[in-house]
């Protein structure tokens, strides 16, 4: 698997598709050599972000997810075409989701200018 290859997925913003994205990322992460625990962490973090997108924007189009294979890890970028990123973690009940993502991933960046995206990164060899 060479560096900088990107697999992209476009997923309808509906709850029933989140488990499919989870399955896909587990395949990618396992091929990249992540261990089982870390794969689980990545699946959870991915689901949390997709879950929040769906809660705030349910039914409105698709979310674009880029899985980029880096030399030392994976970078996962979420975008909604022609739409701004909603406030994903604005209310009380979102605190668990944000705590989970921040703990499990090495980096999370919410980009509200420019291309309106959320990117999270997990490095190889770093289970929580």
């Amino acid at each position: 698997m060479s560096t900088m290859d990107t697999i992209t997925m476009l997923i309808p913003l509906k709850a029933e598709y989140v488990s499919i994205a989870r399955l896909t990322v587990s395949g990618i992460a396992s091929r990249m050599g992540f261990d089982i625990d870390t794969i689980e962490d990545i699946k959870v973090a991915l689901s949390e972000i997709l879950g929040k997108f769906i809660e705030k924007k349910s039914g409105t189009g698709r979310v674009n997810v880029d899985f980029q294979c880096l030399e030392d890890g994976i970078s996962i970028k979420f975008k909604i075409s022609d739409q701004s990123i909603p406030e994903l973690f604005d209310n009380d009940t979102d605190k668990f989701a944000l705590a989970i993502i921040s703990s499990l991933m090495d980096e999370i960046e919410i980009e509200k200018q420019g291309d309106n995206s959320i990117t999270m990164v997990k490095k190889l060899g770093k289970a929580v």
């Binding site: 989140v18 625990d37 699946k43 689901s47 879950g51 009940t93 668990f96 989970i100 499990l104 929580v128």
Partner: protein, 104 residues
Amino acid sequence: MFELNTESNDGKNVVISVKGEIDIYSAPDFKESLYQSINDVQQNIILDFSDLSYIDSMGLGILVGALKRVREKDRNITIKNPKSTVRKLFRITGLDKAFIIEEV
């Protein structure tokens, strides 16, 4: 998807097993089934998580809601045998302080 079963019910405790996956898709059903099982009984609740392979923040939120209800009647909820991946989420969210967690 998930499965919820009342395994045993003595004078003191009700054991409810939760199996499968709880995520944004199954959460609404899980909430309804769990709250129903809890309302039906008077005892302390033991949730057997031995065969729960996945839970997300929404599932955890539902557990918090359940705990509130149960506590109003001076009862509590024990989480029994969570897998390490599920256990980790209780630790990260601080919920391991709210629930009794029993590892066997």
